[in-house]
Symmetry: C2
Subunit: 332 residues, 2 copies
């Protein structure tokens, strides 16, 4: 492809450094896509060694056939972002940036801001991300001003996918202790973790093979893998299992509490729900929408965060360009 | 010391394979101590490579100057005990046992039974151990018949020392999120984890240095080290910190719930409370005693588990020897 020659500020760039992928979007000033790039995991906390390389690959992809010097502003969402404050990590990212021929400095912003902006062009409001982890943020004038949770699986992430998976196992262990029938959720947990048909047990310590195997298997793997079991709660909920219902209800209650900590009564602006657990396809997401239907908040679903970041880049170039139309185009 | 020649059954042996020590006690048939042995950590789950060696050292110590063939019965308490069901581990323990000249087979029993027996010679009742972990058991006829919790730090141990330490950090992170003053507990957590004076923060993400440092430091260490922070809850409780009060109350409630799952109303026999968190010196232990003062259970404090194991060995030799007097002698 031949390189188009454009003046600086003719293009903007948005990015998303995720745990499983690095995505880059280049758009023109009306929010029309000019280039896209995709590479492996780009979160520098999760992938300290390969994240900068993934960014380089995604940038090369997105800028192919374009003049990198034409990019006037760049906004990149990064989960946590703590690692980017580390000088060595940041230096590696900056080197990749210069090597790509980009002249504008990149603005790394919290994933909470990007998720909020994917759901609305409004300047103020609240955002909840509930995926593997959980975090809420207060947004004022397109800036993250306050957060709740985002404390990680060991200390927080209440109501997250990790939490749901752990509670599924906890409920199963309690049923085994009590010698109660496992039900759809417990049977699915045993089958998924042990790959074997469940043995209900009867609470006697001599027959604790299933209990011991569950605990031993899970303790022998990285704890975050518990998040893989979150979908079992959704499935069992849809199958009408009361145990799954109780867990989903508690998750939604915890997540609404996390929202409440950054959204006191009277807070203006919409509430954007992001992440698989808070999505409309998830029982927890549906319960959350029920809970907030009784509040004064306008509840919106997050769309593509990469589009949100690119729209923020457009806004940084010139607020007049950051129209609702450009927003719709970018997040769809 | 010259070896005394005694007939088989003139002595009994009790043991305790703990996470930090291996203890052996040899007693005569009236429960008088004939020998004691002490060595390093003997829990085969926690110390798979060195546990058998520790048992060998403690046995040699305890049997010095005694005829090992005179030992008629042996009862050894082991936490979990799951590892001893592993043929290879068990073979190593059996080899150590034979090499010590012991002729009677060792009976490995759950630490819940040993803890219960340290508190009472009664055949039936309930026991709660709350230390780093948490577990409750139902004892019928000197046998553990049912357990609750003991699921480990990742999946259970509700109300344990691990749980207390984690809740102390969680409360601190929430106060930082909210921009609230930390109070005695939060200040102690920050000082203990970071070794630095606390910076209260104000919930703004730009000032999340203390929050990020707390999470990063704790996530960089083995999770069980959170149990080290349990004492901060006790200290702050005694200093009148409401945050510590709420955590201790919730721990006691969770632990009494764990007891309730193995002790339905109408269950006979005393309740023995064991472990540092359930002890009389701990606020949680005091709240637990208040809670159970409203029940029909006679609440007792565990004493030396090694004595409990030795008394069970005496009982295995001849139930008539397992007198309350021998019990008092052995557990004191």
């Amino acid at each position: 492809m031949s390189q188009k020659s454009l003046s600086t500020g003719a293009l903007v760039l948005g990015g998303d450094l995720g745990g499983t992928s690095t995505r880059i979007l280049v758009a023109d000033t009306s929010g029309r896509v000019a280039g896209r790039g995709l590479a492996g995991g780009g979160n520098p906390t999760a992938h300290p060694d390969s994240a900068a390389g993934a960014l380089a690959a995604a940038l090369a992809d997105a800028l192919a056939g374009l003049d990198p010097a034409a990019v006037g502003t760049a906004v990149i969402g990064a989960a946590g972002g703590g690692a980017l404050r580390h000088p060595e990590v940041r230096a590696r990212f900056d080197a990749v940036w210069s090597a790509a021929g980009l002249r504008c400095p990149p603005s790394y912003v919290p994933d909470l801001l990007v998720a909020f902006t994917s759901g609305t062009p409004a300047p103020d409001g609240t955002v909840l991300i509930a995926g593997t982890g959980a975090a809420a943020g207060d947004i004022r004038d397109h800036t993250l001003t306050r957060t709740a949770d985002a404390h990680g699986w060991l200390l927080g992430d209440d109501g997250s996918g990790f939490w749901l998976g752990r509670e599924a196992v906890r409920a199963t262990l309690r049923a085994i202790d009590a010698g109660e029938p496992l039900g759809p959720l417990g049977e699915a947990v045993v089958r998924t973790v042990l790959g074997a048909p469940p043995d209900a047990g009867n609470g006697r310590p001599e027959s604790d093979d299933t209990r011991g195997a569950l605990i031993g298997t899970i303790m022998g793997r990285p704890p975050v893998r518990l998040a893989e079991l979150a979908r079992l709660v959704s499935d069992a909920y849809d199958a009408g299992d009361p145990a799954a219902y109780l867990i989903a209800e508690r998750a939604a209650k915890l997540l609404s509490g996390t929202v409440g900590r950054v959204r006191p009564p009277g807070t203006s602006g919409p509430l954007v729900l992001a992440g698989s657990v808070a999505g409309e396809a998830s029982p927890v997401g549906r319960i959350l929408r029920q809970i907030f239907s009784h509040s004064d908040a306008d509840v919106l679903s997050a769309r593509d965060g990469l589009g949100g970041a690119t729209w923020l880049a457009l806004r940084a170039l010139d607020p007049a360009l950051a129209t609702p139309e450009a927003h719709s185009r970018l997040v769809s």
